[in-house]
Amino acid sequence: MKILVCISHVPDTTSKINFSDNDTKFDTNGVQFVINPYDEFSLTRAMWFKEKQGASVTVVNVGGAETEPTLRKALAIGADDAIRVNVEPTDGFLVAKELAEVVKNGGFDLVLAGKESADYNGQMVPGMLASLLDFNFVNACVGVEVDGTNVSLTREIDGGEEKVSSTLPMVVAGQKGIVEEKDLRIPNMRGIMMARKKPLSVVEGVGAAAATETKAFEKPAPKGAVKLVENVDDLINLLHNEAKAI
């Protein structure tokens, strides 16, 4: 089984979010970048398939050279090799089209991704990729087992879970539950040393067109100070008459 894990390079959750160039660009000044937390779950599941079922694991990112430390971190966690598609990821459709080329050229039969990225939260790329490739697709996946080309999965639905079956090739968008949080891997020193020697190839994009463009970012209006109340009567009164929430 050849697994491709899509890795987004995103600001750490604790980062301050600011914009530059007239609010058209994310200001990366002083921002720590990490592997997208949702992708980490899928990467860890891929490592399980590598260790238990002999799968190969390639990681891929669509982005500039600044994303390479994030790919190296994925290699340190245990991926075999990495691909960086040298294209600025301005739109989900564009990223999905570039990834589709990588999947076709690499002959991957299982693509694992996080269900969303912590920066744009679009939940767009995995589904688009599956659709472009005509692969089977399961979103919000909280469990996946592969037996030959048969795949059993559990996906989250509103208010519960659904067990589904499918076949390779497929795209799976994972989240917490596809592995447990305690099983997430942190690169160790040996992994970090080995990652330096693992292949990281840079490929030029195919020039896929974007379908959307960010015109301007904005921040939410500053929130008023919290109203501290002394007793529950006041709280109920405010929630009913002021907030109209009960």
């Binding site: 989900g92 939260n121 767009m124 497929m170 921040k219």
Partner: protein, 317 residues
Amino acid sequence: MSVLVFADSSEGKFKKTAFEVVSYGKKVAEQLGTNLVTLTINGGDASELYAYGAEKVVEVKNDLASFNAKAYASIIKQAAEAQGSDVVVVDSSVDGLTVGPLVAVALEAGYASNAVALPSSTSPFVVKRKAFSNKAFSNTEISTGKKVIGVAKNSYGAHENAVSGSVESFTATLPTLGVKSESIQKASGKVTIADADIVVSAGRGMKGPENWGMIEELADVLGAATACSKPVSDLGWRPHSEHVGQTGKPVASNLYIAIGISGAIQHLAGINASKVKVVINTDPEAPFFKAADYGIVGDAFEVVPQLIEKLKAFKQA
């Protein structure tokens, strides 16, 4: 030309988000000077949608027992083509989020998910969307001729706007499904976090799982869903399905009551889309107070029982 809204349902009942996207689609159609067409797949009674402005409902009835991504995407595409729809609107239920990108590819349409407002302009077509885990918005231009919009849950709201509607049936051909449903487990009789107007959430301040009775009782009184912080689900005090925050379930309720939760940034990222936030915490320095609308500095073990008692009286009054 028309605007096509997909009104999602589960077991033949429309989801709450269905009424929200109908309301949204109705306004977009008005902005564009065109008609609204509402598509249902094995859905509920079309008259429920008329109440929100769905003047024309197109019903698909077939053998699909439950949601299937490929099939739903194909049906929506066929309906959009049959109705000459250039704009397709889906909700942010798990189904909507799953099918949205597939529809976008099928129609070669630009896709703006997580939309929180009506298009600020239709030429160019610009939609405001959530980004950076609710810490910012992106005003996104969709540059393609066809467009797909995913409306963020509880962002636009359902607005009653009764029309005398009509319904017609539509037959769509189904593709190979590719993914087969084996079984569905749903918590019955409980308000889900996704659907709840009010969410009562508790953290490590509750000291142990044996103390959750009062949280459940408070939720009962309010008709709310129960939720918890990440440490609580990690400790096994509550099931993982209750974990809300980044990497857990997102919450976009009208009212979010946080009890004994300090308000780590990862937690706030997941619940920030809620409209009104109430914090009950013994520690006045808890970061959650900075993100809250109302707060009580106090011991949950004293405040919550009082709140239950007073709310019961309030509900009866």
